[in-house]
Amino acid sequence: MDIATLLQKMLKLDRRIIYTLVFVGVVLPFYLAWPPIRIEVSREVEDAFRIIDAIPPNSTPLLLSFDYDPASAAELTPMAVAALHHCFEREIRVLVISLQYTGLGAGIAADVVPRIAAEHGRVKNVDWAFLGFQPNAMVAMLQMGEDIKRTFPVDYYGTPVDSIPLMESIQNYDQIPAVLTLASTAVGEFWAIYPGSRYGLTVLGGLTAVYVADIQPFYQSGQIKGILGGLKGAAEYEQRIGRPGDDMNGMRSQKVIHYLIILFIALGNVAYLLARRRQA
């Protein structure tokens, strides 16, 4: 049997065998701590880190917006956790909102934020507050530029925002040094386009890897000042704050699967080219 015929037979492989190979490729690195990986902090992540790190402690809060749904939680929740660790360790206050239109992002925030805050002994409504969610992201972003309390009259738990100590001196974006949007859709760029252009808000993007290539024009033009891109971005950020976590293991699996997919593409194309040559 020659190579071309062998490859053609391989192309007819049952898809469940491919699925099994992928699954094994993801699982094995967890137990073998292989292959070796190297994480270099990219300039986008370094920019994001520096902007957050420059926020004075116990002062104006970082605005953290959970603009994603559970489908993207695997990529974005690690970023949220890392950002919260960073802020709480430096005693930077955090103001949490969600503009994911179904409200599912708020459900994620309601699980993640209190848990991480409790680890650092941060006090609710003093060191952090969760204002809940608003459905129409564009309108909410622009409305917050004038009056955040009007946009969120009560927090996620039903407490009037006027009675929250952290919100005492917060009126609008003038008191917000930066927003870190964790987004799986175009909401990420909405922050740059709407409040970024109208109110000059500093926007940092924690985005799924799908959007990293698309968001580059905003980074180059300065509309977005820092980007955490996908699982790798989360791993880089964790490394930068000195708390390497599960994402390192995740990056090992990424490496195996990337090379597996490159191998699949290569094999498929070699078979295709050999078949074409044979026909010619």
Partner: protein, 211 residues
């Protein structure tokens, strides 16, 4: 008049006001009020979608038609309605927040299901890579080569071959110009479509019935 002219007038007045307020600070109090209105009506539009879902599953569970039969998948629709009922009761009686049944159901059912559904895509991607991604033309070859370089470069591998630098170059140069051109085109298109909606040239949202 009632079916076409009044909606067009509402659209024009609301749209013009919201466009013009950007330039006139004196409109600010009214702008804030209209923003609240938009959020409320938008919320109702989402609830409308949910009502359609509930209606669909309720119909499946009911005995309908001349033979008074249920839909063949009625048991699944019953599961959906049961999940809905439990969630409503949990949310309205116990409330939301840490440790509540509402939050636990979100964490234990909704989050895993949605996350896993999208995780299936990785398998389909691998299968497609094997069967479908072919370098049939120069364009496809450029696309696949760029993809492979970026995939390896993101892992910070291939430094001796300069792959991370090449990956960075692709991201900062051809990718940037392509995405910027698309953004510019989309931006101009969006602005012109929005303007057409406001002035009533674009009226597909009115449906097809004549007045």
């Amino acid at each position: 008049m009632m079916k076409t002219r009044i909606p067009l007038l509402i659209c024009f007045v609301a749209g013009t006001f919201m466009a013009v307020q950007y330039f006139i600070p004196a409109f600010l109090p009214y702008y804030d009020r209209v923003n609240d209105y938009i959020q409320i009506v938008y919320a109702f539009s989402i609830v409308l979608g949910l009502a359609s879902v509930i209606q669909r599953h309720t119909h499946r569970v009911q005995r309908r038609g001349p033979e008074k039969r249920r839909h063949k998948d009625w048991i699944y629709s019953l599961c959906a309605l049961a999940g809905l009922t439990v969630m409503l009761l949990a949310g309205f009686i116990e409330g939301r927040g840490e440790g509540t049944l509402f939050q636990n159901l979100f964490n234990a059912i909704l989050l895993p299901v949605q996350a896993t559904m999208f995780a299936l895509l990785a398998f389909y991607l691998a299968s497609a890579a094997f069967r479908a991604f072919r370098t049939r033309s120069v364009d496809a070859t450029v696309l696949l080569l760029a993809a492979v370089v970026v995939m390896i470069g993101r892992l910070d591998d291939g430094a001796t071959l300069g792959i991370p630098k090449l990956s960075r170059w692709i991201l900062d140069n051809p990718n940037l110009v392509a995405k910027r051109a698309i953004l510019l085109g989309v931006g101009l298109g969006m602005a012109s479509t929005a303007l057409k909606v406001v002035v009533g040239i674009e009226r597909s949202y009115l449906g097809s019935s004549k007045e």
